[in-house]
C-alpha cells in the first residue's frame, strides 16, 4: 500500500523519504501526497514513525534518503522564509518566552512576511487581529502567556500559526494535554480554518476516534511505513486497527457524525478475540456480545 496515485492538486509531497535514528531506520522510503484543501491525519502507535514522518514533511529533520518537495521543488533547497510563507507548522511543545504578551506572540507569526529589517505595516496588525478573532482570544491580546490556561494557550499558538497566512498548515498533536472539551474546540477551529479558507491541514493525532471524525483523509503508519490510506471509512476497520495498534476492537458508526468509531474490546476479550471475532459478524454493524 506504499504507492499512492499522484494527485495533481497536491503541493506537498514526500518522495521515497527514509529517516534513520542512531543507525536505525525509522522511516522506510515513504511516498506521500498531502491532499490539497483537505484535512489529513496521521495515526499510528507510539514509535510507529508518524511523528518522524511529520517532522520530515515539516523540514524539521532532513531525510537520509529521498526528498520532500513543495510545489515540485525540494523543500531543503528552497529559501526557508519562502517556504514559511506557504507552509506553517505548530510543533508539539512550543516554548513561549517568559512575560511575552499574547499579541506579541501572535505577531511573531508575521515574521516570514516582514521585510529584511522587520518593518511592520498596518496590514500586519489587521492580520494579527483577524487571527486573534478567529481563535477567540482577542480579549486576551494584552495578557501574558503564563496567565492563560492550557486551552487558551493552545488557541494562542494556533492564532500565531494562522497569522502566518500559509496555505498548508502542519500540526503535531495539537490536542495533547487538553481536556476533552478543549480537544473538540481545537479540532473544530482547525476544521473551520479548512472550511473557510481552504487551508490544507496535515496533523498527527493520537485519538483514533477524533481522527476519524475530523479527517478527510487518513494515513495509518506502522513500522515506519504507511500501511493504510484513504477516507476514514476505508482505513478504520478492525483489521487495520489490529495491524497498526495490535488492538482488538469493533467498529461502529459514530452516533453523531456517522464516521467510524473504534470500540476496543476488554482485556479478557482481547485474549479471546479470535473466538469472539468468529462469533460476531465483522464490520460496521457489529455490537458487543
Amino acid at each position: 500500500m506504499n504507492v499512492i496515485a499522484p494527485r495533481s492538486d497536491s503541493r506537498l509531497h514526500a518522495e521515497q523519504v527514509s529517516v534513520n535514528f542512531d543507525g536505525h531506520r525509522v522511516l522506510h522510503a515513504v511516498d506521500l501526497h498531502l491532499p490539497a484543501g483537505e484535512i489529513s491525519v496521521f495515526v499510528g502507535a507510539n514509535g510507529s514513525g508518524k511523528s518522524t514522518l511529520f517532522r520530515a514533511l515539516a523540514r524539521l529533520i532532513a531525510p537520509h534518503d529521498g526528498r520532500v518537495t513543495l510545489d515540485g521543488q525540494s523543500i531543503s533547497h528552497l529559501p526557508t522564509r519562502q517556504v514559511a510563507q506557504t507552509l506553517a507548522l505548530l510543533p508539539q511543545n512550543p516554548i513561549a518566552p517568559d512575560g511575552i504578551i499574547v499579541a506579541d506572540l501572535v505577531g511573531r507569526g508575521r515574521y516570514p512576511h516582514l521585510g529584511a529589517f522587520g518593518r511592520w505595516s498596518h496590514g500586519d496588525d489587521d492580520i494579527v487581529k483577524a487571527s486573534l478573532d478567529a481563535t477567540g482570544v482577542a480579549d486576551l491580546a494584552q495578557r501574558r502567556i503564563e496567565e492563560l490556561s492550557g486551552g487558551q494557550r493552545q488557541r494562542v499558538w494556533l492564532a500565531m500559526t494562522l497569522a502566518q497566512r500559509a496555505d498548508i498548515v502542519l500540526l503535531d498533536e495539537p490536542t495533547t494535554f487538553l481536556d476533552v472539551r478543549h480537544q473538540i474546540d481545537t479540532l473544530e477551529l482547525i476544521a473551520e480554518l479548512n472550511r473557510d479558507h481552504g487551508t490544507t491541514i496535515g496533523m498527527v493525532l493520537h485519538d483514533l476516534n477524533l481522527a476519524s471524525r475530523y479527517a478527510d483523509h487518513l494515513f495509518a503508519i506502522a513500522g515506519g511505513r504507511i500501511v493504510a490510506t484513504g477516507t476514514p471509512e476505508e482505513v478504520i476497520t478492525p483489521e487495520t486497527v489490529k495491524s497498526v495498534y495490535d488492538l482488538e476492537c469493533i467498529v461502529v458508526p459514530d452516533p453523531v457524525t456517522g464516521s467510524p468509531l473504534v470500540v476496543p474490546l476488554q482485556r479478557q476479550a482481547q485474549r479471546d478475540a479470535h473466538t469472539i471475532r468468529q462469533n460476531i459478524p465483522p464490520g460496521r454493524d457489529a455490537t458487543l456480545p
Binding site: Q85, L87, N93, P97, P112, A141
Partner: protein, 341 residues
C-alpha cells in the same frame, strides 16, 4: 475588547517606550563622556573641551585628545561590546547568568594575556592580540565540546564553567611563579582597567566593533522568532542552528576584542542585559538598550574610580563592587521566578 487599531496603539506604545529609554540612555552616555573629557587633574570647562574637539589647539589639547578622549571612547565601545555580547549569550542560552565571564570565554582571554605579560612581557597590541586569540580559542573549544545533540544551553554553560575553572587554575599557577611587579601588572589587567587606553591600543577595538556590531544588529531581528523554540522558528522561516551560531560567533568576537583591550571588566557583560530588560520590560531581545547600559556602567565606574574612590582602583574593581550585590539579587530572583532574563 481590542480592535486592530488598539493592537496597533499598544504596539506603538511599546516601541515608543523602547525608543524613549534608548534615547535617554544615549543622552546619559554622551553626558558622562563629556564629563570624562572635562574632569581630571586639570579640570576644564565645557567650552574649552568643545573648542579643542573642533580642532583648536591649546595647551590642554594633548590632555583632551591624547589622554581623555581615547579613554572615554574605550569605555563607551568596550562597554557596549560587553553589553551586546552578554545579552546575546543570555538570550540565546536562555539563562540570565550565562554571560561570557561565567562560561569561560573571559577566562581564556585572561589566561592567554597573563601568559603574555608574564612570559614575554607583552604590552599594547601584542597583548591585545594574545588575549583575542585566547578568547576565541576558548570559545571554539567550549562550543566543540558542548556539541552533542540535545539542548545547547545547559551543556554549554556547564562545559564553560569547567573550562573556566581549568583556565583560572592555569592563570593562578603562572601568577604564583612570576615576580611581584609582573604579578601586579597581570593582576591589574585581570581586574579590567582603562589605564592603558591610548590611541594605538584603541584601533583594534574600534575597527572590530564597527565591523561586527552591524551584523549583530541586523541578525537581532530574527531573535524573537528563535525564542519560540527551534521547531517553531523553523516553521517561521529561520534556520535556528545557523542563526544561533552566527549570533554567538559575533558575540564571541565582540567579547574577545573588548576583553583584549581592557581586560575582563567584572560583571559588565553579566549585568547589562538584565538591567536593560528591566528598563524595557516588553522587549524580548533588548540589544541596543543592553549596549548603552554597558557603556554607561563602564563610563560611570571609570569616573568613580578616577575621581571619587580613595585609591585609584582599576575600573573592574568598581564594577565588581557595584555588580556583586546586584548579581546576588538577580540570582535570588531568577531562581525564584524560574529562569529568564
Amino acid at each position: 475588547m481590542s480592535s486592530s487599531a488598539t493592537l496597533r496603539l499598544k504596539r506603538q506604545q511599546r516601541q515608543r517606550r523602547t525608543r524613549l529609554v534608548n534615547a535617554l540612555l544615549a543622552l546619559t552616555v554622551c553626558s558622562l563622556a563629556v564629563l570624562g573629557l572635562c574632569l581630571g587633574v586639570q579640570s576644564l570647562a565645557l567650552d574649552q573641551v568643545f573648542n579643542i574637539l573642533i580642532g583648536q589647539s591649546t595647551e590642554q589639547s594633548f590632555v583632551v585628545t591624547g589622554l581623555r578622549l581615547p579613554r572615554v571612547l574605550t569605555a563607551v565601545v568596550a562597554g557596549a561590546a560587553f553589553g551586546f555580547a552578554g545579552v546575546t549569550f543570555q538570550v540565546l542560552l536562555r539563562n540570565p547568568l550565562a554571560s561570557p565571564d561565567i562560561i569561560g570565554i573571559s577566562a581564556g582571554a585572561s589566561a592567554s594575556a597573563v601568559a603574555g605579560i608574564l612570559l614575554f612581557g607583552a604590552t599594547g597590541l601584542a597583548l591585545t592580540g594574545l588575549a583575542l586569540m585566547g578568547g576565541l580559542a576558548t570559545a571554539a573549544v567550549i562550543f566543540l565540546l558542548s556539541q552533542r545533540g540535545g539542548t545547547l544551553g545547559l551543556r554549554l554553560i556547564l562545559v564553560g564553567i569547567g573550562c573556566a575553572a581549568l583556565l583560572t587554575a592555569v592563570t593562578q599557577w603562572m601568577l604564583a611563579r612570576a615576580n611581584q611587579w609582573d604579578v601586579l601588572a597581570a593582576l591589574r589587567w585581570l581586574t579590567g582597567s582603562l589605564n592603558s587606553a591610548f590611541w594605538p591600543a584603541l584601533w583594534p577595538l574600534l575597527s572590530g566593533f564597527a565591523l561586527v556590531a552591524p551584523f549583530l544588529l541586523f541578525a537581532a531581528r530574527s531573535v524573537p522568532v528563535l525564542q519560540l523554540g527551534d521547531d517553531v522558528a523553523t516553521g517561521l522561516g529561520v534556520r535556528p542552528r545557523r542563526l544561533r551560531a552566527t549570533l554567538l560567533i559575533i558575540a564571541v568576537l565582540l567579547i574577545a576584542v573588548a576583553t583584549a583591550t581592557t581586560g575582563p571588566i567584572a560583571f559588565v557583560a553579566l549585568l547589562a542585559g538584565p538591567i536593560a530588560s528591566r528598563l524595557v520590560r516588553r522587549e524580548s531581545f533588548p540589544l541596543v538598550t543592553a549596549g548603552l547600559t554597558g557603556a554607561i556602567i563602564v563610563l560611570s565606574a571609570d569616573l568613580v574610580s578616577q575621581h571619587l574612590a580613595p585609591v585609584n582602583y582599576p575600573v573592574g574593581v568598581v564594577t565588581g563592587l557595584i555588580g556583586a550585590p546586584f548579581l546576588l539579587f538577580l540570582l535570588a530572583r531568577a531562581h525564584r521566578q524560574g529562569i529568564s532574563i
